[in-house]
């Protein structure tokens, strides 16, 4: 077919012999046309990033292309000399990376970094370079381009940095733009703006965009065509409407079914008994003065009041900097709050020194976000599990029995107790963390972004597990997340936080259906995939 910006035919990339499969991608074929966004979707390890890196000629040395061709405007990128390929890069093909902080050099102003591209690829004078740079910054809608021009990366927000990276990618008006998870590290409102920008850019620059993502809602938001990958193989491709609304392959169906959505049906009635009551909890950080700056105080958490009933799941939703992490740290007293009360049963958890709290810690437990950092790599799972109850006076054999029982509840084998964390996948580790938190039989469990780092199908499993445990054990859960979709799936009630304050509270229905606060409305409208009704797939027989 003519007119394609990039056409990939039968691409196969080999993994080194020690890999878990022989090909990173195999038999990959797809095309990108001008003025088109092609989304490559898949979970971690599906080979989607390898595809993007192959097109840029940035494959790690251990990976070798063994077959296929990759035609860019009729020329095969794979047969090109390195220097020819380098000439295309940045000029005709450019790339936007996931992490905007590490994609920019911290030692130069962002203006210099954009100009550098003009200096490399054109013979413009200094003044012309600067004018072009400022025009680009206007185009990616950076506020106050003059000021941003002379800022260093650390002085900009994540969204602004990503705009700079996109501006750099657009500098030479490329025909092909490759974006590797460009919005994954961003807050949802920033993500919405960046996605909207991608949609305008494809028409204004008439470029083809290869957009790598794991999030089906993002796909629904921007994709023209979709390529679904699993373990290096394309399992399905087609137009966005076809794939999203009528997926054929079981894996695609499974992924789409795992997209978090507001749960349907009546919520179970809640008990009257209150498990956790928080009154006027507040926290201020004091930043000491330095030579050049005056001392500041930052009100991280304005006095917050809420209560959670026994068996309830309360969602606390907010973007980065909203104070939700400070709230959590204060609740489990990893931080000392300035003021306020935390009542669990008839004990005020906010009072007393941290060492006097040790016995009370049994009542409130936490599951952290990072499944790789929250288990001690040098101790066996069993040792880590029984440590908690043994601190509270349970004998070793009783604790060990409890650990075995909990392994069953989180659907792992007993054998896992004798292993070390390095042997488990992210989802398995997160289940171990849940088991560890439940070992001391807490009254309240805090899940701090507990599923944010997981693939969507694993995320769904862990959410299901939490819901089951809650039902069976009558546990009270505080579910902290930045993702409204996930919150709406598991929570009974929601609290929305912004800048250290609770701005909205109510049942999921109320918050979604009739948001009162402007910030909540903004969050809701920023959710990707708003127009897309997920087809009810689980009812259909899978082929």
């Amino acid at each position: 077919m003519t007119g394609a910006v990039l056409s990939v035919r039968n691409l196969t990339v080999d993994l080194p012999l020690s890999g878990d499969r022989s090909h990173a991608v195999s038999g990959l074929s797809f095309e990108i046309h001008p003025n088109e966004i092609v989304c490559v979707v898949g979970e971690s390890g599906s080979g989607k990033s390898v595809t993007a890196f192959t097109a840029m000629g940035l494959l790690p040395k251990a990976l070798k292309v063994s077959a296929g061709e990759m035609l860019f405007e009729g020329k095969d990128l794979l047969k090109m000399s390195r220097s020819d390929h380098a000439k295309l890069r940045g000029q005709r093909i450019s790339m936007v990376f996931q992490e905007p902080m590490t994609a920019l050099n911290p030692c130069f102003t962002v203006g210099d970094q954009i100009q550098e591209i003009f200096r490399t690829h054109t013979k413009l004078s200094g003044a012309q370079c600067k004018a072009r740079t400022l025009a680009l910054m206007e185009e990616v809608r950076l506020p106050d381009p003059q000021r941003v021009y002379s800022s260093y990366p650390h002085q900009l927000s994540g969204g602004q940095r990503q705009r700079i990276v996109i501006a750099m990618a657009l500098a030479m008006d490329p025909k092909l733009l490759i974006a590797d998870e460009p919005t994954t590290a961003l807050d949802v409102t920033t993500q919405a703006q960046i996605l909207a920008m991608f949609k305008t850019l494809k028409t204004t620059h008439n470029a083809g965009i290869l957009f790598v993502t794991h999030d089906f809602d993002v796909v629904a938001e921007i994709a023209d065509r979709v390529v679904v990958m699993q373990k290096g193989i394309v399992v399905e491709q087609g137009t966005a409407t076809e794939v999203l609304n009528d997926p054929q392959h079981p894996y695609t169906r499974q992924l789409i079914a795992a997209v978090p959505r507001k749960k349907q049906g009546e919520a179970a009635p809640l008990q009257e008994e209150i498990a956790l009551r928080v009154k006027g909890l507040s926290k201020t950080y004091h930043v000491a003065r330095t030579l050049t700056r005056k001392a500041r105080t930052v009100q991280a958490l304005h006095p917050a009041d809420f209560s959670v009933r026994k068996g309830e799941t309360l969602g606390i939703v907010g973007e980065s900097g909203s104070g939700k992490t400070t709230l959590v740290r204060c609740l489990i007293r990893l931080l000392d709050p300035d003021d306020g009360e935390i009542w669990i049963g008839n004990r005020n958890f906010a009072k007393g020194s941290r060492s006097s709290l040790r016995t009370a810690r049994q009542d409130i437990q936490i599951v952290f976000q990072d499944p790789y950092g929250s288990l001690n790599p040098r101790r066996s799972i069993g040792e880590q599990l029984i440590g908690g109850p043994m601190n509270f006076g349970v004998s070793r054999s009783v604790a060990w029995d409890r650990a075995k029982r909990l392994m069953k509840i989180v659907r792992l084998e007993e054998d896992a107790l004798y292993r070390y964390p390095a042997e488990f996948s992210g989802g398995q580790r997160q289940r171990i963390c849940i088991a560890r938190a439940l070992m001391v039989e807490p009254k309240v469990l805090i899940a701090d972004e507990a599923v944010s780092a997981l693939d969507v199908s694993v995320q769904k499993e862990v959410l299901q597990l939490l819901a089951d445990i809650k039902r069976e054990m009558g546990l009270t859960i505080l579910f902290i997340t930045h993702d409204l979709r996930v919150a709406s799936q598991i929570c009974d009630n929601l609290i929305v936080m912004s800048r250290g304050q609770i701005v909205e509270r109510g049942t999921v229905e109320q918050v979604f259906g009739d948001p009162q606060d402007a910030y909540t409305r903004q969050l809701l409208s920023a959710m990707p995939g708003n127009g897309w009704e997920v087809p009810a797939l689980e009812a259909q027989p899978t082929t």
């Binding site: 499974q254 489990i332 990893l334 810690r361 929250s374 042997e423």
Partner: protein
Amino acid sequence: MTSLNLALPQPGTVRRKGFIGRALANPVFLFGAVLLGLIVAMAALAPLLAPYNPLAQNMLTRTVSPFWMSDGNWAHPLGTDGLGRDYLSRIIYGARISLLIGVFTVICSGIIGTVMGVLAGYFGGKIDLVINFLIMTRLTLPVVMVALAVVALFGGSLIVVVLVLGLLLWDRFAVVMRSAVMQIRNQEYIQAAQSMGYSTPKLLFKELLPNIFDRLAVIATFEMAHAILLEASLSFLGLGVQPPTPSWGLMVAEGRQYLLFDSWLILIPGAAICVLVLAINMIGDGLRDALAPENRN
């Protein structure tokens, strides 16, 4: 959702080598360990191995050359020194001194440095300020000068040398432990342990120490080599182990006057020091590689 993989990796598919297994697979470590093993065996079995009493003087057989030289003979394989003492016996007994100094100095300085580093790194704040000040103060002191001064005041004996070196060589332990602990204390598993009611000492010993042990082991080997070298320098300057005790550093010092015509008197103990330090450093390098988490499995 039955198709999702809930199964664990089967035992046998993931085979973990223990840390000793991983270390032994490392040729550098293996070579260093064999070398050190030989030296330790030599020191331990000194009375059995040494052909003569290392202190026995014999004026009739002074500065006999080692066997490979034209005027050497096998009665004294490494020759004799200026007082007619058998050089091989002195080298064998000298290994005891070097190893004793290395091991005890590291135990002493390791405990001081690790305690200081862990306290500073974990608690931070004022404790960190004080300990940082101590580290800075220690770093401004030239080790050899201070050691010389102290030994000159209190006299040179094995115990004084060990104590002086032990009290001087803790700086690297403290600096490295402090930064290692600062990295680890903010990990979520430490916070999880806090919220599970671990007391501070238990948390430090059970959760923290296992994760910094690799770094501890590596510094210990390097400091051991350092201590052995320092003892040799002190003895060379006449302020370390006192004659007639056979110490390699002292042997170098005593051989100084024969440098021009009987240079093997210096070269042999010098080579012994060199081999021991090399062996210990190789073990340190090997340990560092074997203990790195990315080299597991």
